[in-house]
């Protein structure tokens, strides 16, 4: 199998993994499990970058892949895990949407993503190296992740679950970026990564403080500021 063939295989595998982890995140209630799934998703994303790097013959992308692996596969899940341990709450109890409905929602969102990503796929299909074609057709996966991330943010009650949702959303954007344009310029990538890391840290810290102040950290209790 040629390098391109391998790359295409890896690409298919990693996008599949991304989609799967996103769906699983909707299904699982445990925050610790969510942290693990996020780590897997980070690794899958890194794999995706590697596959694209291979297809594009772009060494710089390998560096990017390393950064992605380090940040999304290791550091951020760790931050999340620490946050979970700090608040001592793991399970998401009363879900707003039960896992079954959530999964149905995921399929609907995937359909929507497929429908709306047509202009993106069409425009970017013909670019770059050989792998870029199939890469572009995987764009709906990224978009699905974005939407699933939003779904998580909207349906979960635990403060940290919202961070999980945000991270899935961010992974989705990264996926789209790599699939359509082989990633953004390195400087920008660095800045974006830094921002995401900082946001994760801040949310973790804030959720700790909220836990200290409120006792429990359900976002439903954050309703003092209203009109």
């Amino acid at each position: 199998m040629s390098l391109d063939g391998l790359a295409t295989q890896l690409l298919a595998l990693s996008t599949g993994a991304l989609l799967l982890t996103a769906a699983l995140l909707v299904w699982r209630r445990s925050l610790a499990a969510a942290a693990r799934l996020l780590a897997v998703q980070g690794v899958a994303l890194a794999a995706l970058v590697v596959s694209i790097a291979a297809a594009e013959r772009d060494a710089e992308l390998l560096g990017v892949a390393a950064v992605v692996l380090a940040l999304k596969g290791v550091v951020i899940p760790l931050v999340l895990g620490r946050g979970v341990r700090a608040t001592g709450v793991d399970r998401e109890n009363a879900l707003r949407v039960n896992p079954t409905s959530g999964l149905v929602g995921v399929t609907l969102l995937a359909t929507l993503a497929y429908l709306v990503s047509r202009p993106i796929t069409q425009a970017t299909a013909g670019i770059g190296g050989t792998a870029a074609g199939p890469a572009a057709f995987a764009v709906p996966v990224g978009l699905t992740m974005v939407l699933v991330g939003l779904l998580l943010v909207v349906t979960r009650r635990r403060a940290l679950s919202q961070l999980v949702g945000f991270l899935v959303l961010d992974n989705g954007i990264a996926t789209v970026a790599f699939l359509t344009a082989a990633g953004v310029p390195f400087v920008v990538e660095l800045g974006v990564s830094l921002d995401v890391l900082l946001v994760a840290l801040i949310l973790a810290v804030l959720s700790g403080r909220l836990h200290a102040a409120l006792g429990a950290v359900s976002v439903d209790e954050l309703n003092e500021l209203r009109d």
Binding site: V116, I127, G128, L169, A181, P185, V187, L222
Partner: protein
């Protein structure tokens, strides 16, 4: 000489570091002020400069006339807010105070970076960085409410702005598929790339939606009243006065790309919807508002809505009006928030119904508050009068009469609500106060320098009449994204 664009980024680093390291309260207090002065000075220098556009690191830093104008706005409003918030007390700065000062510097730096870059990715990074910098500023007071506000702010802000990142990414993809992988705004608006309209459509729409979060446009505005209501007054002033404007600046840049590739239709629809929606939300929630800091926050949503409407209209008059509005609103709103902060400190409550007869009891607070509100309501001679008139006229001239009619109705509702609330606070006899501390001595923080407020309000008053140099500068800046 182009290196001057580095100054607004390096100065805050130094000043922030100084605030953290030197444990003197005065350093902490004045670092933001000095930083604002530096930003303002650089902005003015850049505005005055002619010739080639300063450009560093291949467009990573680039200061065209619009950037220069925005930098000036950041400096001017920042000066008002930070100077107005200066606490004259000497002594050792606490950790919180030092962190506060440093974060204000970072905040200013992030905003400066946002307006000084040509790279849309960096622009996004800078805007997201403002969220990071202000998260702890919003939660500075550490109360349950401020933590709640900070949480909502960070979650809503990050999620919303992330959508903009998706847009930026797709723009990059569009550039790449057109043959040049670039995020340079200059290149994207040059018209020489055969960008795919379908893709750009999605990209710019997402980018606008994302940045609209930070600009406080409906329906992405939800974080704004909470954050502005809970943040310390100078920070509220900064956020309301310039942070929103910087986000709007990003929208203007994106809009320029859309104009080149797609024509004005899509952007007009999006921005008009967002603008009218914001005006409607603001009007509805101002009418029966019970908290005066939130009142000011909704007023910001209203003004951002108006700006979005102005941006939707486009053309030299409307765009110039938008920029002048940004300046006038920033100064007036920063002043209003600073004064609101002092009222809060003096009265111990931010509920409108608990503050009564302010003109009789505390004229030194009531008068600037009333003047600032009058400026925000668009009374002449304040600049907002000119801009509101110009936006409506330009809108009708652009064939958007129906939308302008809606704008007028909503402006009336906003006016009624703001006036009702302000009147309830400032008018009436001295003795009607219901809460505790009827007219006791002002608490700490109720006083503060008056000069910045006077300066800001005077500037707002005269700037509308200044064809030279302000008018010319605005026209040049508006020409950049015209």
């Amino acid at each position: 000489m182009d290196a001057i664009v580095l100054v607004p980024l390096l100065a805050p680093a130094l000043l922030g570091a100084a605030a953290v390291v030197v444990p003197d309260r005065r350093v902490a207090a004045w670092s933001g002020v000095v930083d604002s002065v530096v930003v303002l000075a650089v902005g003015l220098v850049l505005l005055a400069r002619r010739g080639p556009v300063p450009d560093l690191a291949d467009g990573l830093l680039r200061a065209d006339q619009l950037s220069a104008f925005m930098l000036t706005v950041i400096g001017a409003v920042g000066l008002t807010a930070t100077w107005g918030g200066v606490d004259r007390a000497a002594g050792r700065a606490t950790r919180a105070e030092r962190r506060y000062a440093a974060l204000v510097c970072v905040f200013l730096a992030a905003m400066s970076l946002a307006v000084l870059t040509d790279n849309l990715g960096v622009l996004w990074v800078a805007i997201e960085a403002t969220t990071v910098a202000t998260a702890f500023l919003v939660g500075h007071r550490g109360t349950r409410r401020s933590l709640e506000a900070a949480w909502k702010y960070v979650v809503l802000g990050s999620v919303g702005v992330a959508i903009a990142l998706l847009g930026v990414v797709l723009l990059y993809a569009a550039g790449r598929s057109a043959g040049e992988a670039t995020l340079s705004w200059t290149v994207l608006t040059s018209g020489r790339l055969p960008l795919d309209p379908g893709l750009v459509r999605v990209a710019v729409a997402l980018a606008v939606l994302g940045f609209a979060t930070k600009a406080g446009l409906a329906p992405m505005h939800s974080w704004l009243p909470d954050a502005h209501g809970q943040a310390p007054a100078p920070v509220s002033g900064l956020m309301s006065g310039v942070l929103l404007a910087v986000a709007l600046y990003a929208i203007l840049r994106v809009r320029a790309i859309a104009d080149v590739v797609l024509g004005p239709g899509l952007m007009r629809g999006l921005l008009m919807t967002a603008g009218l929606g914001s005006l409607a939300v603001a009007a509805a929630l101002i009418l029966r508002q019970r908290d005066y800091k939130r009142l000011l926050a909704y007023s910001s949503i209203e003004h951002m809505g108006l700006l979005a409407v102005g941006a939707a209209i486009g053309g030299p008059l409307a765009m110039a009006a938008v920029l002048l509005h940004v300046l006038g609103h920033g100064l007036a709103k920063a002043t209003a928030f600073v004064v609101a902060g002092r009222i809060l400190a003096a009265e111990g409550t931010s509920r409108i119904q608990d503050v009564r007869g302010l003109l009789a009891r505390r004229p030194a607070l009531a008068v600037p508050f009333v003047v600032a509100v009058a400026a925000l309501l668009g009374f002449p001679p304040f600049a907002l009068f000119f801009t509101e008139v110009a936006i409506v006229v330009a809108g009708w001239q652009a064939g958007l009469g129906w939308a302008m009619a809606v704008v007028l109705v909503l402006l009336l509702a906003v006016f009624a609500g703001l006036v009702r609330a302000t009147a309830a606070m400032v008018l009436g006899p001295a003795g009607e106060r219901t809460g505790a501390d009827a007219s006791g001595p002002s608490r700490r923080g109720a006083g503060g320098p008056v000069t910045p407020l006077v300066l800001a309000l005077c500037a707002t008053a005269v700037v509308g009449f200044s064809a030279l140099p302000v008018g010319a500068a605005i026209a040049r800046a508006a020409g950049v994204v015209g």
